[in-house]
Amino acid sequence: MKKVILQSAVATAISISMLTSATAQESSALDIGRLAIAGYGDVTYIEQSNMKDEEGNDVQNNVVARFVPIFLFQMSEKIHIEAELEFSTNAEGETETELEYANMHYFYNDNTIITAGKFLLPFGQFGANLHPSWINKAASNPGIYGGHGGNGALGGVTGIWNDTGINIANTWNLGDAGRVFTDFYTVSGPRQEEGDHGGGVEIESKKGDNNDSMAFGGRIAYAFLPEWEIGMSYYSGAYSDDGDLDYNAYNIDFNWVGSYASVRGEIFGSTAETEGEEEGEEEGHGEEWVKDFDKRGWYIQGTWQARQLGKAWLNPVEFVVRYSDIESDFDGSVDHDFEEDGGKTGSRVYYGVNYWLEPSAVLKLGAESTSIDNEAASHTTVPDDRIFLQLAFGF
């Protein structure tokens, strides 16, 4: 079913493009290229006492690096293909490779873009637009998003990053009243986590779908450029193997970007249905239940460029502060599949100074400190404070 939709979308896209390419060709006298290679990379040094990975092992390696090339192809004025590969070393010193996205944009008309393939989901701002390290003003992810290589003692809300399917994006220009951006997509959807901790929600498209229901979602944003953008995102899909349990999430993002300063934030909430059984009397089975487990979080981030002071030596300097907070329903009273989340809610604050070497190359010095709300419910209590030194570049 999923395949059929994708195939027919691609086929429609291609046939429409044949009809219109004749008129589009003559429209520009630009130097038209075919291929461009861009991307980003970073090297991060993390200083943390008693550093443990997600399994509680001692961390071997406190320098991690990433190289993320992006391949862009212009097949015609209407069809554009892009792929991003991530090569990274993790805290255990292993090298990981991941396909972040590989998709085709079909520029259907002046204000509609159809995207098919594996793409970054337009859910909030951070995952889709702000996570590349030369764009992210901090050396770490907001506390509500688990980072690559874990999030320390604080557990993120299940991130909604990338998936396979189809998206349709539109721009509605309201003239002086601003503009509205819409995205609607259907993708293969979340799956049930495997392994010891099993049962939780996992959004990882590389394994394919585990049930025959697709997830869907979208984002509607109002933008008053250049300064304001406010977006609302929604995501819904069945995650259990039998397709009975749902995972729903919403996100509200706001962005203010001024000439010297910026303020951004997101509110992110998710509900995962989980099932279980009451303790049975004697041999028999108890009553089955399905409960909603909510997890909510938010973050707010402010940046300021010292360039505003008009002193030449301060031109490359930027300051960053970010506060993140997570709370969940977990109180330890029922045994359920999200047990892992126990002791993982709390708040985190990041302070940083950035020194810009180029518009897309930056040296970041940051300090992060976390306070856990319910330490008693936690499996491991590791001090979750660290210092970062990161060199990040986009090319």
């Binding site: 429209s27 038209i32 290229g33 554009h80 637009n129 539109n170 250049p226 000439s259 180029e358």
Partner: protein, 180 residues
């Protein structure tokens, strides 16, 4: 299935509005529009990337990627491309094109042609990516502006301002224009 229906409704709604206008890319109006679209869109997510980082050919491939990210219309994306291209010469190092300069251009013409007001305000008109240029000659001095226009990164490594292919006479003409 419901979503697919919604998607096709969207398609139908937007189908009829499409026609790219055959507008020549060196059209100063298109360049000015492009400078404005650039200053409004290209610093929303990341530091704006100055034109000289890529060749015209590379920009023509990068801009569709950014059109999708930024939810820009096709017309805006084309204008941004035209603006970026207008500041780039065929020369890899973007050397000033003395040969092509047959007539001297006035400061006002140059300021229009290079889309300065896409990013800067002049007498209350223009974009806000860069600071207002109203009293810039008095506040900063002539040498500073000369240096800035020769190499925008001379005092700010992260500057988004393009390195324009202009001669020193061009720059002097702009300074004279900005003085008033």
């Amino acid at each position: 299935m419901k979503l697919i229906k919604i998607m096709f409704t969207f398609l139908a709604l937007t189908l009829n509005t499409f026609s790219i206008q055959a507008q020549h890319v060196s059209d100063p109006e298109l360049v000015a529009e492009g400078a404005k679209a650039y200053s409004e869109n290209c610093a929303r997510c990341h530091n704006a990337r100055p034109a000289e980082e890529y060749s015209k050919k590379e920009w023509s491939v990068v801009i569709p990627h950014m059109r999708a990210k930024a939810h820009m219309t096709g017309k805006e994306a084309l204008a941004v491309e035209a603006f970026l291209a207008s500041t780039l010469t065929a020369d890899v190092r973007n050397a000033r094109d003395y040969e092509n300069r047959t007539t001297t251009r006035s400061g006002a013409e140059l300021v229009t042609q290079f889309g300065c007001q896409g990013c800067h305000q002049l007498k209350g008109e223009g974009g806000k990516l860069g600071p207002s240029l109203d009293n810039v000659v008095i506040n900063r001095g002539e040498t500073f502006i000369l240096n800035k226009l020769m190499d925008p990164k001379f005092n700010n490594a992260a500057s988004a301002m393009p390195k324009y292919p202009m001669s020193e006479e061009d720059i002097k003409a702009i300074i004279d224009f900005l003085r008033n």
